[in-house]
């Protein structure tokens, strides 16, 4: 048995050596105009040798390992508890109430850094929920979601710069603008098959970024836009001194100024936006259009036979998803006070997609969980910063192999025939 595995074992070890030997073993070194090489150091050689040896023995004993693996107990079924939770509406409501209460209390229990991180998580939750409509529910792979995020952010920033628009008006305009872009892009491309759509949306995201970078007369190019006005609470500002004709929050309430108020306010605002998003999506899901999204994802031909217009339904998903990205973008711009095209690269789209996929496509609680994991893990693993994207890519591949349905897959009411 081992002898029959010897050949693949040797081949895999040799392949590892070919893959890594030149690319990782030596390093291009530029000295002026001459190009030289330096060795990567013994630790890299040891790692390569270790990887090759590991694969060699792994392939040599793969049959025995396979038998061992089968003997191990299976992975615990994570969704089981939550599925039963979903069956009982009262328990489910209690669970959500508890979650929301915990989220509201968070900034008061944590410090400034924690609140800031929480706001970042909430932005990603909002983006994840928005993309979840497109990818998870309607089954359309959108790789240019960050384009709509950019449209929202720049929409508000430019409006504020040229027309002195406030945050709340800007929020609505940014959402509508992103929805319009989604509609205009979706109109031609949604007739296409899934993977074409993926690439076209990817191209769209890139076009938006390139345009923002090069239309210097409008967007200030790579330098970005600064001084974007912060959100206000019914006209009350969160700054030390009020600007012309305005009042500050601390003067109105009659407490002393504390810069943490603004951080907490931004957090609560983000939470409010997330809750609105969740509410709207949950309502939509129970409407005919929401049902049509899921039906379309499962079987397009059957949907057509039932008289659903696939293009219109997809366009609805695309436009609504885009508008949430627009809201998130507007909030992002207001929170940062500064935006540049750097914030809207493809990798951002990939992170949002990873949140949706990791969480379990279509599952909202999964998306929230994944957004928390994806935002907090990199913050905690600062010393692995260099390897962050490497591990991120690896995780995406492994996740697809081992658990393509995500951490907490969406549970649907279904019936099975038992014989």
């Amino acid at each position: 048995m081992i002898r029959s595995n010897l050949k693949p074992a040797v081949i895999s070890a040799v392949v590892v050596a070919i893959l890594t030997g030149l690319l990782l073993g030596v390093r291009l070194d530029q000295q002026g105009t001459t190009l030289g090489l330096v060795g990567a150091g013994p630790d890299v050689y040891w790692k390569i040798a270790a990887a090759a040896t590991f694969l060699f023995f792994f392939n040599l004993f793969r049959d025995q390992l396979g038998a061992l693996w089968k003997g191990l107990p299976g992975l615990p079924k994570a969704p089981a508890k939550l599925t039963s939770l979903g069956d009982k509406p009262a328990l489910r409501r209690l669970f959500w109430c508890f979650m929301i209460a915990a989220a509201i209390l968070w900034p008061f229990l944590s410090n400034r850094g924690g609140t800031d991180l929480g706001t970042l998580v909430l932005i990603y939750v909002m983006l994840g929920l928005g993309l979840n409509i497109v990818v998870g529910l309607a089954g359309l792979l959108d790789l240019g979601y960050v384009g709509f995020y950019a449209v929202g952010a720049y929409g508000y920033a430019l409006m504020a710069m040229y027309f002195d628009v406030g945050f709340w008006t800007g929020l609505i305009i940014a959402g509508c603008l992103a929805a319009l872009f989604g509609f205009l892009l979706g109109f031609p491309v949604l007739r296409l098959r899934g993977d074409y759509l993926a690439i076209v949306t990817l191209g769209f995201g890139e076009i938006i970024r390139i345009l923002l970078n090069n239309m210097t007369w409008l967007t200030n190019g790579p330098n970005g836009i600064g001084g974007i006005p912060k959100p206000t609470l019914f006209g009350l500002e969160f700054s030390r001194r009020a600007s012309e004709g305005m009042q500050t929050f601390h003067e109105f309430v009659g407490i002393s100024y504390n810069s943490e108020h603004r951080v907490i306010f931004l957090y609560l605002l983000a939470l409010l936006l997330v809750l609105i998003t969740l509410f709207v999506i949950n309502r939509l899901l129970r409407m005919p259009i929401g049902r049509a999204w899921e039906a379309l994802r499962e079987d397009e031909i059957a949907c057509r036979a039932l008289g659903i217009n696939p293009t219109a339904v997809k366009l609805g998903a695309f436009t609504i998803g885009a508008s949430f990205a627009g809201f998130a973008g507007c909030f992002f711009a207001a929170r940062q006070g500064f935006i540049s095209p750097e914030s809207f690269t493809f990798i951002e789209s990939a992170i949002i997609l990873a949140i949706v996929v990791l969480g379990g496509m279509g599952s909202q609680i999964g998306v929230i969980l994944a957004a928390i994991i994806m935002t907090i893990l990199p913050e905690m693993a600062r010393e692995f910063d260099e390897y962050r994207m490497l591990l991120f890519g690896l995780m995406m591949v492994l996740m697809m192999i081992w658990r393509p349905q995500g951490l907490l897959p969406m549970s649907r009411p279904h019936m099975e025939l038992r014989t």
Partner: protein, 310 residues
């Protein structure tokens, strides 16, 4: 006379466009062959091209360090080793990231491919640094077209090498696909994978082979473009991959002549945009072209319209 000057300018732009376009075509073949057989977009293909470029630079630098200065030896060695390494990458990517996922939802392999692309890009970034790496020009000079004293177009020797290598590679590929036994198996797999498997052909081997061929062609493009531009960094694969995919769709995905046609067309369009309007917007024009093509002729120029089966 003002007329010939603008004519030579146009010729120059066309030459530049065809040069870049033929390398797009080489990369696009990798997309189109894989798509033709297993119907997935190998998103990591652009990174294979980038790795090809890096290996070529490493080989050339290594030969220079050993004191071998002969340009033909350097180029041949760069091609050979770079193609070998990227073939191993193509094979391993398929084996690790795509084969376990075959036959499921279409989106799952695509997401895995995006993960692979990010992984490879960052692997090279960590191993080789994220800075631009430049190589001294190895082949300079060219043939002037037009008056020597006035404005004229130049066909550089490097461009001629790119045309020649692309032509040779394409001819070899066409012969392989149309004449050899394995090539016939490839065509059969593109027609109907399941049936081919039933007829006793090792479809896994055929699929692995298409990945290897695609990766080797990407390496050819990587070596050529690396020497043509003279500068590489770990991020070149993303844009090149996107452009090549556009070329494949433009010509009709699944069709090899289509990929070549699409590549050349895209290259020329870009060069004309860069030459007459602005360099910054050439990428915008490329993607705009993709959206337009998909809008009016989703099956591409030479592609067959796809019928969805229940």
């Amino acid at each position: 006379m003002a007329m010939p000057e603008s004519l030579y300018y146009l010729i120059q732009q066309l030459l530049n466009g065809l040069t870049v376009g033929s390398t797009y075509a080489l990369i696009a073949i990798g997309y189109t062959m894989v798509y033709g057989i297993i119907g997935m977009i190998n998103f990591a293909h652009g990174e294979v091209y980038m790795i090809g470029s890096y290996i070529a630079f490493i080989v050339i630098a290594a030969l220079a360090m050993f004191g071998i200065e002969s340009v033909p030896v350097m180029i041949v060695a760069a091609f050979a080793i770079s193609m070998m390494v990227t073939s191993a990458y193509g094979y391993s990517i398929e084996r690790v990231a795509y084969r376990p996922l075959r036959g499921g939802n279409r989106l799952i392999p695509l997401i895995s491919a995006i993960g692979m692309s990010i992984f490879l890009q960052n692997l090279v970034r960590i191993a080789q640094g994220s800075r631009d790496i430049a190589m001294p020009t190895m082949i300079s000079g060219g043939i002037d077209i037009g008056p020597q004293d006035g404005f004229h177009a130049t066909l550089s020797y490097m461009q001629m090498i790119i045309f020649a290598v692309t032509l040779i590679t394409m001819t070899l590929l066409t012969l392989f696909i149309s004449r050899s036994r394995m090539g016939r198996a490839c065509r059969a797999c593109a027609e109907d994978l399941k049936m081919t498997n039933l007829l006793g052909i090792n479809t896994n081997a055929v699929i692995a082979l298409t990945f290897v061929i695609g990766a080797a062609l990407a390496a050819v493009a990587g070596v050529l473009l690396g020497m043509y531009y003279g500068v590489i960094n770990p991020y070149i694969g993303f844009m090149a991959g996107l452009k090549a995919f556009t070329a494949a769709v433009l010509g009709g995905i699944g069709s090899i002549p289509g990929a070549v046609l699409g590549g050349l067309l895209l290259g020329v369009t870009e060069a004309i945009t860069a030459g007459y309007f602005s360099t910054e917007y050439k990428d915008v024009v490329a993607f705009g072209l993709l959206i337009l093509i998909l809008l009016f002729r989703p099956s591409g120029i030479l592609g067959r319209p796809e019928v969805e089966k229940v």
